[in-house]
């Protein structure tokens, strides 16, 4: 993943000057993604996932923004690139898909025209007719139902899933080499989410795109990403190949995320283990390890020493790419995780609760559902 990387973010720092002080949204983040691969970035709201990605795209520039570090697209530094160069790259080599398609699609223009425009903006000399044909082709490519007709639809005439497809079609208009997808499915129903994720995976494989997938959903990451970076308060606290991260997570925050998410395969009666407290201020972050106020394994020293993101030492000769920012020794962490994982395994095999044997029986309820339900507001 390192040498073959097409997009590389190095020691990126992004701060925003606000009346309350400098919000250090991203504080020394490095990641890289190679063609045909997916980097998943997880972490809770406000951890800096979006700001890092937007900065890589040159979308956070402004008088109040303080940026340092490097963002290299095929070796070319984007942070120092002039605005016109960035505009040329955006929508061409680099494309982004947002959580809310309505923010990316113009409400008053037909989706086909918007996609055609994206094509013509980067391909001088493409005729209108050719661009429109390309728009239909792209909509077909993203499996838009009835693409030849929908090309003339306005965004509001499409369902959420269709709008997402239209936005992805637009992002793919010029076969970008890197696609950054920021929560591309968060607003969608699970069945639609599944289709969109399958679509993104297929396109990644067919086009050999490098993909950065930002999400708060560990399940989405597990099913889509090759590599995962876990962000907390502007930093990456753990980074690993996806399988490794789920099998042998090393950071207490990652443990917290894993243990606080309800699982579909959990046994009835299984308890969630919430992470206490809440994410810290980015203006006055905690001293030492930023996670220390919420960490069950904090020691005195951890309140003062800020742990760097370092490769695992005991993983043998081969560097698996697993990195973690925690002051506990690797032996301690493995021992703790072994205990937690065993506890979780025990919880999963708890006997089912008494309620599951209650008298009600499953029924396919079609008998009482005559027509579609209509309601009116209570006047009370």
């Amino acid at each position: 993943m390192s040498d073959a990387a097409i997009l590389r973010v190095e020691d990126l720092r992004v701060g925003f000057a606000t009346p309350e002080g400098l919000v250090q949204a991203v504080d020394g983040v490095s990641w890289a993604v190679a063609p045909g691969r997916t980097l998943g970035i997880v972490g809770e709201s406000g951890s800096g996932k979006t700001v890092a990605a937007m900065t890589a795209m040159g979308l956070t520039r402004g008088r109040r923004t303080r940026v340092s570090g490097r963002v290299l697209l095929d070796g070319e530094d984007l942070l120092s690139a002039p605005p016109e160069r960035l505009r040329a790259l955006r929508g061409d080599a680099l494309a982004m898909v947002f959580q809310d398609p309505l923010s990316a699609l113009h409400p008053l223009l037909r989706v086909g025209d918007q996609i055609a425009e994206a094509v013509r903006a980067h391909r001088a000399g493409v005729s209108r007719a050719a661009a429109r044909a390309r728009a239909v082709e792209l909509l077909e490519h993203v499996a838009m139902p009835d693409a030849a007709r929908r090309v003339d639809a306005y965004p509001h005439e499409l369902s959420g899933g269709m709008r997402q497809r239209a936005m992805i079609a637009m992002a793919l208009a010029n076969e970008p080499r890197v696609l950054i997808a920021d929560e591309p499915t968060t607003a969608l129903d699970v069945t639609v989410q599944k289709q969109i994720l399958e679509l993104l995976r297929r396109l990644r494989d067919e086009l050999g795109m490098a993909m950065v997938l930002i999400t708060h959903d560990l399940g989405v990451v597990a099913e889509t990403a090759d590599e995962v970076a876990v962000m907390y308060a502007g930093r990456i606290v753990e980074q690993a190949p996806a399988a490794e991260l789920f099998a042998a997570p090393q950071h207490p925050y990652t443990w917290g995320l894993l243990r606080s998410m309800p699982r579909l395969d959990a046994e009835a009666g299984a308890e969630l283990v919430p992470i206490p407290g809440r994410p810290p201020s980015l203006i006055h972050p905690p001293s030492g390890c930023r996670f220390h106020p919420r960490c069950a394994y904090v020691r005195e020293r951890h309140r003062e020493v800020d742990p760097p993101l370092a490769p695992l030492a005991g993983a043998g000769a081969a560097d698996t790419g697993h990195r973690v920012a925690c002051l506990l020794s690797e032996t301690e962490r493995r021992a703790i995780w072994a205990r937690l994982a065993q506890g979780a395994a025990r919880r999963r095999s708890w006997p089912a609760s008494s309620s599951s044997s209650s008298a009600s029986r499953s029924r396919a309820a079609c008998c009482c559902a005559g027509g579609s339900a209509r309601w009116r507001r209570s006047t009370a």
């Binding site: 809770e44 699982r263 994410p279 499953s362 009482c368």
Partner: protein
């Protein structure tokens, strides 16, 4: 196993029938527009079915008005998805929590009300001193706790929580779900939980109703629904949920076998 009594019931002739059993935790799942919230609102007399009946403890309350409706409101409370939108930004937390008592003419004495408000805050895991704060000074998780405190203020029998955690951070979701479970135990509440997240419902509920296009597709005990779903649509929904791989204890295949120190 005791047969539980029906607490609330909606039987809309043109739509769906669903009963809530006393003491249970019933999940309603389904996708956008499937009618989950509508069904729950009918159950709470916040919407009137165009036809059919709403029953509460066997009594037809479809057209309840006045004092009877007020009494029903007290017994059945709603927790909203968006804790910010459900709190008046110009009222302190304390005032918001005192409101239900004033509306229902309870605890007329200011000191007694303040005491009760403090108790409520502590019951939902907040500091009683937060009574003097305004909603915007609280985090989303804290606001949701206030929303829950307000819902339990008058000792309801039924709590309907409509997507209570979907607006919250991952790490905060578990705190709120754990609180709801604890309150159910402590107060013997019946819970109707509306959620699009099937894992959340799996974790919280005894029984699950699956809705689609305004209709009930399947109703079953949670274990049965997740292990042996009957309706195709339920199967499709379950199959679509992305899975988090199980943590494997060291030694197990896929576990921490890469480490020589994993035996410690």
């Amino acid at each position: 196993m005791l047969l539980r009594r029906r607490l609330g019931e909606v039987a809309a002739v043109d739509g769906v029938s669903l009963s809530v059993l006393e003491g249970e935790s019933l999940g309603i799942v389904g996708e956008t527009g499937s009618g989950k919230s509508t069904l729950a609102r009918m159950l709470l007399n916040l919407l009137e079915p165009t036809s059919g009946v709403v029953r509460w403890r066997g009594e037809d309350v479809t057209h309840a008005r006045g004092a009877r409706l007020a009494e029903l409101r007290r017994a059945r409370q709603l927790v909203f998805q968006d804790p910010a939108g459900s709190l008046n930004p110009r009222k302190t937390v304390g005032a918001a929590l005192a409101d239900p008592f004033l509306i229902h003419g309870l605890l007329p004495e200011r000191a007694a009300r303040a005491r009760r408000v403090g108790e409520l805050l502590e019951q939902v895991g907040l500091d009683a001193a937060l009574a003097n704060r305004y909603p915007h000074e609280l985090s989303g998780g804290m606001r949701q706790r206030v929303g829950i405190a307000r819902a339990i203020a008058l000792g309801p029998e039924l709590l309907v929580a409509d997507e209570p955690v979907s607006a919250l951070d991952v790490s905060i979701q578990a705190q709120i779900l754990t609180l709801l479970r604890q309150l159910r135990r402590e107060l013997g509440l019946t819970l109707v939980l509306i959620a699009h997240d099937l894992a959340v419902v799996r974790h919280m509920c005894d029984r699950v109703a699956v809705m689609r296009g305004g209709r009930l597709v399947e109703v079953a005990p949670v274990e049965q629904l997740y292990r042996a779903p009957q309706a195709d649509y339920t199967r499709e929904l379950l199959a679509a949920v992305p899975r988090i791989p199980s943590p494997s204890p060291p030694g197990a295949p896929g576990g921490a076998q890469s480490s020589p120190s994993s035996s410690t």
